[in-house]
């Protein structure tokens, strides 16, 4: 009894709330210290430009990007009534729809077959990841030749089997698909490498156990590999999404937005608006819209996705 009283006194003396607060503060400061370098650079090189972009989106500008006329939301009104911008939105979504699943599925396949312990597997892994080492500009050139309407390998192949050649980059029905194919190819290397890394860090005991249970290859893939890979997959999907929304280089090289604006993806449109047409105002408005779209998609992804992800 007496002890209890003493204890209570002691307990009272320690102001837990205060200590907790202090600890929270210490933890916060520590967290901030770890984040500080990144935060500073982000502020300078990302947030400031972003703020500037937002600011510019309410103005018209002269050729050097200086603001001239305040137009309020007119820039937004304009782009949303512009069929070109709407088309570009649509193309962007389609492009994302083609490339993200395409890239993920193919590179997952590659990662899975390259994850086996076989002789010379290192060579294959290098090949599979090699597209990562090829710059977008170089890769676009490769593909430009493959897509050539008459001499490209693709059409020659089609003609060899008796089919008619396709206007890969000139036919509005095909252009976006063609660009998507080349984009998938360009992204494969990177996605492959990340997924392979994810695969290899799965505890081998799990496979041993499943192997003993007599699980088939596909069953293991479905029940162990994919769920255990989910953090990596989540990462790859999120990043692919964002990257797909921001595709630029290959458009510039392969189609320049054509034919008929079919491949006029948002970032390309922004780039043209800003660097060729010197309409920084509308370009900024488009950039803001793009930002909001990606933000929403990513938020959605985090909300839905991160819950399904299994961390060990």
């Amino acid at each position: 009894m007496k002890e209890a009283v003493v204890l209570q006194e002691q307990y009272r003396k320690i102001d837990f709330l205060k200590i907790k607060k202090k600890q929270k503060r210490v933890r916060f400061v520590k967290g901030m210290l770890f984040l500080l370098p990144s935060m500073i650079l982000f502020s300078v090189f990302l947030f400031y430009p972003m703020a500037r972009t937002l600011y510019l989106s309410f103005f018209l500008t002269d050729n050097s990007g200086a603001t001239t006329v305040f137009v309020g939301l007119d820039n937004f009104k304009n782009i949303f009534t512009s069929p070109i911008f709407l088309k570009s939105l649509q193309s962007t979504f389609l492009f994302v729809l083609y490339t993200v699943p395409g890239t993920i599925v193919i590179s997952l396949f590659l990662a899975v077959i390259a994850n086996e312990k076989l002789k010379g597997i290192g060579f294959f892994r290098m090949i599979f990841s090699s597209t990562m080492g090829i710059s977008v500009a170089a890769a676009s050139v490769f593909w430009m030749f493959l897509f050539h309407p008459t001499m490209g390998w693709l059409n020659q192949l089609l003609e060899a089997v008796g089919l008619e050649g396709i206007g890969w980059l000139t036919d509005p029905k095909w252009a976006l698909i063609s660009v998507s194919i080349s984009t998938i190819w360009m992204n494969l290397g990177f996605t492959f490498l990340i997924l392979l890394g994810g695969l290899q860090s799965i505890d081998s005991h799990l496979y041993e156990s499943a192997e003993i249970d007599g699980a088939s290859y596909l069953y293991k893939l479905r029940r162990i590999t994919i769920p255990m890979l989910s953090p990596t997959l989540f990462f790859v999907i999120t990043v692919s999404f964002i990257n797909a929304f921001q595709t630029f280089g290959q458009i510039d090289m392969l189609t320049r937005g054509g034919p008929q604006n079919e491949t006029n993806l948002l970032v390309y449109s922004i780039y043209q608006e800003a660097f060729e047409n010197y309409q920084y105002g509308t370009a900024s408005a488009q950039a803001v819209v793009l930002f909001v779209i990606i933000l929403l998609m990513t938020l959605l992804q985090f909300k839905l996705g991160e819950r399904k992800v299994h961390y060990q």
């Binding site: 018209l60 500008t61 002269d62 050729n63 050097s64 990007g65 001239t68 006329v69 137009v71 304009n78 070109i84 430009m144 050539h148 309407p149 008459t150 001499m151 206007g167 980059l169 000139t170 036919d171 509005p172 252009a175 392969l254 189609t255 320049r256 937005g257 054509g258 034919p259 008929q260 604006n261 043209q272 800003a274 660097f275 060729e276 047409n277 010197y278 309409q279 105002g281 509308t282």
Partner: protein, 432 residues
């Protein structure tokens, strides 16, 4: 850890100092010439630097025309701006409006320099409100290339290339008949080519005298002249004699060289390469016009050299000296032969090197002839406006629509509407 190379700021400082102490004045020259043109350009600069000991020109590559111009706009008016910058023809108004340039008219006036020894058709373009802002430099126009061997095979006269749209169509049909794998004609979806075809009929691109009298407020081609080009293409499409390479000129040239198409339009600057690389005989011809109209000629394309405002007088003088050097006949002759761009100074064509080259490739001469046959007029002076890049993009989309079976009237009227809207927007942005 970064061993920074502070050359630029130091360089400027040094240039000033040197200017006073009488040493070499440094001139920074930003250009957008890649590939072989860069080789030729570097050669010119090198020779210039060796030719005297007052001025040192540093030529620095800055990417494409667009990249160079964007970058110039972002450093315009600061110490980082170069003394001289190369800007393509459609950037002209953008440069004029930027307020960061020193019109070279100032030096022409001071010195009483005679610009009339330059090719008139070229100077016409770069004269804005009767004033020279920049020094023309690399210029080109489109020409029509054709496959003489294919012409022969189709029973056409390889020495009498088609001149009008209708003749082109007919030739195309003949070629198609003789060789089903070969199309007749290809027109890259490229706004510049549209503008040229328009000018060749004497059509104006923009109102207010092609934007040269006053700022343009809308397009001037909403009539049959503009549309005739679309219709022409459409007719060839219907006859399946038209090859569609979209916006990609490389594909088009490869198609031509490998015998997929018999005629195409492209910059005269490519002439040498096309002739060199073709496994057959290449003909070069004037660009076509509709039968009903008469030929007016072409508008000059390419780029000119601009001088920055706010540089030390010494430096500007030095730059001016270089600009004058660049248009000397000998220099231009080398340039013409080395790259395929025109010589802005007609005297260059009399130079030995040029004559020799013409002997080897008489076709090259056609490009010059076309330019010289051009009737100076507002139409062939070319449109002037800072939203031309946007206009081109819109036209390209319209052309592609037609290439892919779209309706001519609709494509055309949409394009006109869009260009007009763009003009309005650009004018508002400038506060006009």
């Amino acid at each position: 850890a970064c061993s920074s190379v502070e050359k630029d700021s130091e360089g400027t400082a040094k240039a000033k100092e040197d200017g006073e102490s009488g040493g070499k004045t440094e001139v920074t020259f930003w250009h957008a010439m890649g590939g072989q043109a860069q080789v030729a350009l570097d050669e010119i600069v090198k020779k210039y630097n060796e030719s005297q000991d007052e001025v040192q020109v540093n030529a620095e590559y800055q990417g494409t025309y667009e990249e160079t111009l964007s970058k110039y706009h972002s450093v315009g008016g600061t110490d980082d701006a170069p003394t001289i910058v190369q800007v393509n023809e459609i950037g002209t108004m953008s440069m004029v409006h930027s307020g960061n340039v020193e019109p070279i008219q100032k030096f022409i006036d001071e010195e009483g320099y005679d610009m009339s020894n330059l090719e008139e058709n070229i100077t016409n373009y770069y004269k804005v409100d009767g004033k020279f802002y920049s020094m023309p430099f690399n210029s080109s126009t489109p020409v029509m290339y054709y496959n003489k061997d294919a012409f022969k095979e189709a029973g056409l006269d390889p020495e009498a290339p088609p001149e009008t749209y209708e003749e082109v169509e007919a030739a195309g049909k003949a070629i198609k008949e003789s060789n089903s794998d070969m199309k007749g004609f290809a027109l890259q979806a490229y706004g510049w080519l549209f503008e040229e075809l328009l000018a060749n009929q004497g059509g104006l691109l923009l109102n207010n005298d092609n934007g040269r009298g006053d700022t343009a407020t809308e397009v001037a081609f909403d009539n049959k002249k503009g549309k005739s080009i679309f219709e022409w293409v459409k007719r060839m499409m219907d006859e399946d004699t038209f090859a569609n390479y979209g916006t990609n000129s490389d594909n088009m040239v490869t198609g031509f060289l490998s015998g997929d198409v018999a005629m195409f339009m492209q910059s005269s600057a490519s002439a040498r390469d096309v002739i060199d690389n073709a496994p057959f005989e290449v003909g070069v011809a004037f660009i076509p016009y509709p039968e009903k109209e008469e030929r007016h000629g072409v508008v000059i394309g390419g780029a000119s050299l601009w001088m920055s405002k706010g540089k030390a007088e010494e430096e500007q003088k030095a730059a001016w000296d270089f600009l004058k050097y660049v248009q000397k006949p000998e220099v231009q002759a080398e340039w013409h032969v080395g790259t395929g761009y025109f010589a802005i100074n007609p005297k260059a064509y009399e130079q030995q090197v040029v004559q020799e080259a013409y002997q080897k490739m008489p076709q090259l001469q056609v490009t010059v002839e076309q330019l010289q046959a051009t009737k100076p007029s507002i139409a062939t002076q070319g449109g002037l406006m800072d939203m031309i890049p946007e206009e081109r993009k819109i036209i390209e989309t319209a052309l592609e629509t037609v290439y892919n079976g779209g309706d001519v009237d609709e494509a055309f009227s949409t394009a006109v509407e869009q260009v007009n809207a763009a003009i309005e927007q650009a004018n508002t942005a400038r506060g006009e």
